[in-house]
Symmetry: C2
Subunit: 302 residues, 2 copies
């Protein structure tokens, strides 16, 4: 998807400028740059901005020409910072002990565990710093923006992503619990993905129908995304994945293929993508990009 690449580039530029503008101790800043600018998919910022496009009349957001560009772009980047911090901490020896991520050595492999922990802390905190430093000057937008911040914060915290990671650690080695798997994935992956979409709507629009539609899309899409991730971890290779394949199995992690088998997992991913897309039908042309994104997801190699 050419359009997706252009959007990812747009995010990359903004992330780079956020980090290079900061005054900080060089050791932790270097480690943060290493992971944040390592070229991820930028999925969460792109979902956020796409939901914003879907729900607002602001069509110039991708060209930095909108009056609200600064605030919107800060929130998009904050989502990527939160996601990247979670990867750095997940990769630590005390957690998943992974050596590769996004095709490069993991943060602690390069900078040591202490700085990697701080780089994660730094990115999580920076997410809130940049949002607070770029609150909308447009007073009409402020309440929605603050509501979106709250949705993001909750999804990133112990009721969302961190809760999911806590469960992930606790259930390692327990291969047979479908309920535990659902808890882990709905909190660890789905929560921030759904929050990205919900926040994208909330900043400009409080129409409950649109919010419920993108949340429905987010939940199904997030689940399909995680199932595909599990399948790739089983079948992929280091070059394609950018991280060591088979690490889930090695660690006795709960995954969809481990519980439902490979073929059934593929069918489930397919089903959830279709379900996700069904939520976007009411939006016609405006949802074209999100539908294409969801469809492409099934064929991804990394």
């Amino acid at each position: 998807m050419e359009k997706y690449q252009a959007k990812a580039e747009y995010i990359n530029k903004a992330l780079f400028s956020f980090l290079t503008q900061r005054d900080s101790h060089p050791a932790v800043l270097e480690a943060m740059k290493y992971s944040l600018l390592a070229g991820g998919k930028r999925l969460r910022p792109i979902l956020f901005l796409s939901a914003y496009e879907l729900a607002s009349d602001d069509l110039d957001i991708w060209h930095c020409s909108s009056a609200n560009s600064d605030s919107i772009l800060s929130m998009a980047c904050a989502l990527e910072m939160i996601h990247t911090y979670s990867l750095i901490h997940d990769d630590l020896p005390a957690m998943d002990n992974d050596d590769y991520r996004r095709g490069k050595l993991t943060n602690h492999k390069v900078f040591g565990e202490a700085i990697a922990i701080l780089a994660g802390d730094g990115l999580l905190n920076l997410a809130y710093e940049v949002m607070l430093e770029h609150l909308p000057t447009d007073h009409k937008m402020l309440p929605g923006y603050l509501k979106a911040m709250s949705v993001i914060a909750r999804s990133a915290g112990i009721s969302g992503m961190i809760g999911g990671q806590s469960a992930d650690i606790q259930y390692q080695g327990d291969k047979h619990s479908a309920a535990a798997l659902k808890y882990i994935h709905s909190h660890k992956t789905e929560a921030l993905i759904t929050a990205s979409l919900e926040a994208g709507v909330l900043v400009s629009n409080d129409d409950n129908k649109i919010i419920e539609a993108v949340k429905g899309f987010g939940k199904a899409f997030g689940l399909a995304f995680q199932i595909t991730d599990d399948i790739l971890d089983l079948l992929g290779n280091l070059e394609q994945l950018g991280k060591s394949p088979g690490s889930d199995e090695k660690q006795g992690k709960l995954t969809y293929p481990a519980i439902y088998g490979l073929e059934e997992s593929k069918k489930m991913a397919d089903l959830y993508i279709k379900k996700a897309i069904s939520f976007l039908q009411p939006f016609g042309n405006k949802s074209e990009f999100l539908i294409a994104l969801a469809t492409t997801l099934l064929d991804r190699k990394s």
Copy 2:
């Protein structure tokens, strides 16, 4: 100070209620409760609330009867959450590798490293969650509250506390750099202490004279506090300190006694307390509590 104890109790109750209301995965929540409710000094929330009292006309804040109690108390608790998360991460084996804190085993000693990392992440994120969930309903207060949040976020991040910890790690073993020591302490300790005071003013008052006065107090007080901490680490015992004494020296940490000697360090602490107090003279009776607090600090045993 009886008044101090009453205020600490007030904060403890609020912290307890914030944690017990949350829906979360039990493992990480248990670890967060363990450290957050372990009975620290609650210095930062008390500084914040005292600065609020100093600058506002709201004298009922300690009795939960003010219209803005919820928002103010959330910010006070957020400061303690940020402080506690930083202690949990600082104590980790990859960082300072400490076994005791606040008179109890450190978080990772009880819950393991993985859950301790997540408990720290959870507390940092929860700080922002509770502030965002309790924004002032009073529209006049909102801009100041958001500005205070931004000040807190910046002081907790890579330009403040996390930057200081990054320097602390880098300079371990380098005993002779007074400049490095200044960088570490001004970022690691002073930044959040000063931000607590500044935020306490900002939520209700944008008078630059008051802001500069409490910042001046905070910088000098924070430095005296850290010097006293360094002295206690050298001279104290486990029972009084609640953490293992002598750990700074063992790790080759930069400290005031290591650079300036014990007697000179004591004189410096005394001098900085006097300097801190001088900033509060213009406030008369209203600054009584903060002045007593600063004076008591010099005699503390933990």
